[in-house]
């Protein structure tokens, strides 16, 4: 008896299913040409009629990335405040809507969709990990919206819907290798966390080393968040490499540097070049563990430019004298001002007009003057090698003579030809 009830219940359900499926069918892709013509089906809902305009900030305010991304959120907030105090963008005050990416790529994609479709923001700022950017990229492309991504990354990407204000590989990793080569480094050891950025960075380093007669004595990966490094550190010590190239992320650095020190390795005997340790991370890793080690970035708090002095002072005034500023924070701060300059050049908040106006836009950033490359939506940056000093800040020990043009696909490097295929 009971069985028959459910069977009957299934019939109307099946009918309903078919009805909705048939009624719901939308456009089908018959050939790529027609698919491309319907590309921007989601028309913009940005409201610019009032005295304010909405912008979205998307950062991980919870989860493992919260410590890093909260600092970016803070410097974005500072930039918005400064812009509003100076009269806003084209006379409109910025109204910030903040969303939490919760350190999960899926959450980033979902929240980015909300900022674009539900909140109708004119532009979105944020993201940190490669996976969060990769997750948001299709959302911004499908809705034809703008994302400003403020963190150094692994390159090999250029979307017309993303502006990359952090360094690409030829503005951070290659200069670091150039510096090492200049110092007479003949052999290096690669240590990294197991995800996209270190793997891609190490691929580039391998190709560079091969072309420049440098020897790579080992390439080791630890799972993200791993704190067990005795095996890797012993391998590093036994390799007797001239230097270590470190692409570890987050907590792993604490364990790595502690064990590095405990086996008797020092900055003098075997220097470590890190690309993910900035001012913000030094206290966490422990100053006694990393003092004297090298870093590769485009901005340090100690930079002596008028714009940087103003930025650091304003940041400390707003968030406390004990706070520090770092490269991603500076890139985020810069990104909001770059968007302002693009909008004002375009004379419009519309995405296509902003994109068209982007090329050549400049801003007097704390790191120096930056210029937007209209071809690949990256910006020029000045690579700098730094040394961690006794105060936990980073002193510039080498700086590129001039700003480096962004080359995300490393097209101008002969030895990198096979990488970007």
């Amino acid at each position: 008896m009971r069985v028959s009830v459910t069977k009957r219940a299934l019939i109307p359900l099946a009918a309903a299913a078919m009805a909705t499926a048939l009624a719901g069918c939308g456009s089908q892709i018959s050939d790529p040409a027609s698919a491309n013509s319907t590309a921007s089906s989601g028309s913009s809902c940005v409201d610019t009629s009032g005295s304010s305009v909405k912008v979205g900030f998307i950062n991980s305010l919870s989860g493992t990335m919260a410590i890093s991304e909260n600092t970016v959120f803070d410097s974005l907030s500072l930039a918005a405040e400064e812009i509003n105090a100076a009269g806003g963008v084209m006379g409109k005050q910025l109204q910030v809507i903040s969303e939490d990416g919760a350190s999960e790529p899926t959450k980033f994609a979902e929240r980015a969709g909300k900022l674009i479709q539900q909140d109708c923001t004119a532009a979105v700022f944020g993201g940190w990990t490669s996976s969060s950017r990769k997750a948001m990229l299709p959302v911004f492309e499908a809705n034809d919206a703008l994302l400003f991504y403020p963190v150094q990354y692994e390159g090999l990407e250029a979307s017309k819907n993303i502006f990359y204000t952090g360094a690409t590989t030829n503005q951070q990793i290659i200069p670091a290798l150039d510096y090492l080569a200049e110092q007479g480094t003949k052999s290096i050891f690669l240590v990294g966390s197991d995800y996209v950025f270190p793997r891609t960075a190490n691929k580039i380093i391998q190709a560079y080393a091969k072309a420049h007669g440098m020897e790579v004595l080992g390439e080791e990966y630890a799972p993200l968040g791993s704190t067990e490094f005795s095996t890797i550190v012993n391998k590093v010590r036994d390799s007797k490499a001239d230097a270590v190239f470190n692409t570890l992320n987050g907590d792993s650095n604490v364990a790595f540097f502690r064990q590095y020190k405990s086996v008797g390795l020092t900055a003098a005997s075997m220097p470590v070049v890190s690309v993910s340790i900035a001012e913000e991370e030094v206290p966490g890793v422990g100053l006694e563990n990393v003092e004297g080690q090298l870093t590769a970035w485009d901005y340090y708090q100690t930079l002596d430019t008028p714009a940087n002095k103003k930025f650091v002072a304003a940041f400390k005034a707003k968030f406390g004298a004990d706070r520090v500023t770092s490269d991603p924070m500076e890139a985020a701060y810069t990104s909001l001002f770059l968007w302002k300059a693009m909008v004002e050049k375009a004379g419009s908040f519309e995405v296509d007009k902003v994109q068209a106006a982007a090329g050549g836009v400049t801003f007097e950033a704390p790191e120096g003057t930056v210029t937007v490359d209209g071809e690949n939506n990256h910006i020029t940056k000045t690579p700098r090698i730094g040394k961690i000093n006794s105060e936990g800040l980073i002193e510039t020990v080498w700086s590129s003579p001039k700003a480096v043009e962004p080359d995300p696909f490393l097209a101008s490097y002969d030895w990198a030809k096979d990488l970007a295929k």
């Binding site: 459910t6 892709i29 919870s62 919260a66 899926t106 994609a109 979902e110 995800y195």
Partner: protein
Amino acid sequence: MSTFLRSRWGVLAGFAVGAVLLLVAAPAALSVFNLALLGKFICFAIVAVGIGLAWGRGGMLTLGQGVFFGLGAYIMAMHLKLADASLFGGSGVPDFMSLYGSGEVPGWWEPFRSPVVTLLAVVLVPGLVALVLGLAVFKRRVKGAYFAILSQALAAAFAVFLIGQQATTGGSNGLSGFRSFFGFDLKDPSNKLMLYSIAAVVLLLALAAARQLMHSRFGELLVAVRDQEERVRFLGYDPATIKTVTYVIAAVMAGIAGALFVPIVGIISPADVGVIPSIAFLIGVAIGGRATLLGPVLGALSVAIAQTSLASTFPSFWVYFQGLLFVLVIGFMPGGLASLPRLVSRLKQRNTEKRSTAPASAPQVPASAAPTTATTATTVPEEASR
């Protein structure tokens, strides 16, 4: 009212109301964005129906449903990636493979070029994995905490495996950026509505299947295995077979949910299939009431909705709130929120008894006696959760 809900017409009416709410009211009331969000929650609810069967009725604490969800999702994602690559790129090689891999499609991807193979695999692969695992585990009479730990370890291993295979699974980035779904343009709002409707209908079908199972002879046996496995064995049934079948059904539901999740949400990454999401699946089920038909679904839906609306306002607060809710429910209401009406009626009964001892009150008909006996099958034994 209660007896009506349990009758033939009551069940039909219930399904009709559910269908109207999901298929007519929701699309009319919600924006495109919120409808897609509801579609995502419905995917979680489909997983919850399976967990309700395996855990609530069968006593198997499945801490690793993320594996089956992930299998279904990755199979669908692989097909969508391959289909997009031939539709738009022409080369037939998904973009991330040329960036991070050798630029060639690995052999084990190739079968998923075919839509038919993909649809079959979405059901069969999670089902087969669960079958092999279930037979291996339950035939050896592994149960309780050991089974829970084993299933959780599997979820952890699966996520680590996916992260390590950067060139073939997209690593921690996962697979994303799908543009078409079996030839339909994923950007078109009417196709989004179609996907949502498919998910909603699958949820209703899963519920119908779960109800049929719960009220069948097999369902009675399953509850018997949960409560007294040894006695069922003495009666001549094989508890291992009963458990394995239920585990397979739950796995298939999770696999289908994963396959629907991919086109609706647009991304699948190891962060969606590991230990934490596997536990998250369970929380909604526990809060809603794991041994009932609707408890897991309503629990999963309300936890997901609450998370989305609360998490953006109080980012870190949600995790604590969810933990607190879980502790409270497990500690004080093991039957979940679904047992709330029963608790209330029991309290009422106690009050009535007190009052009826007072001489002035009118003689009361024990009307609440019928539902109390009718719901005994849904009571959760304390033992099953340990």
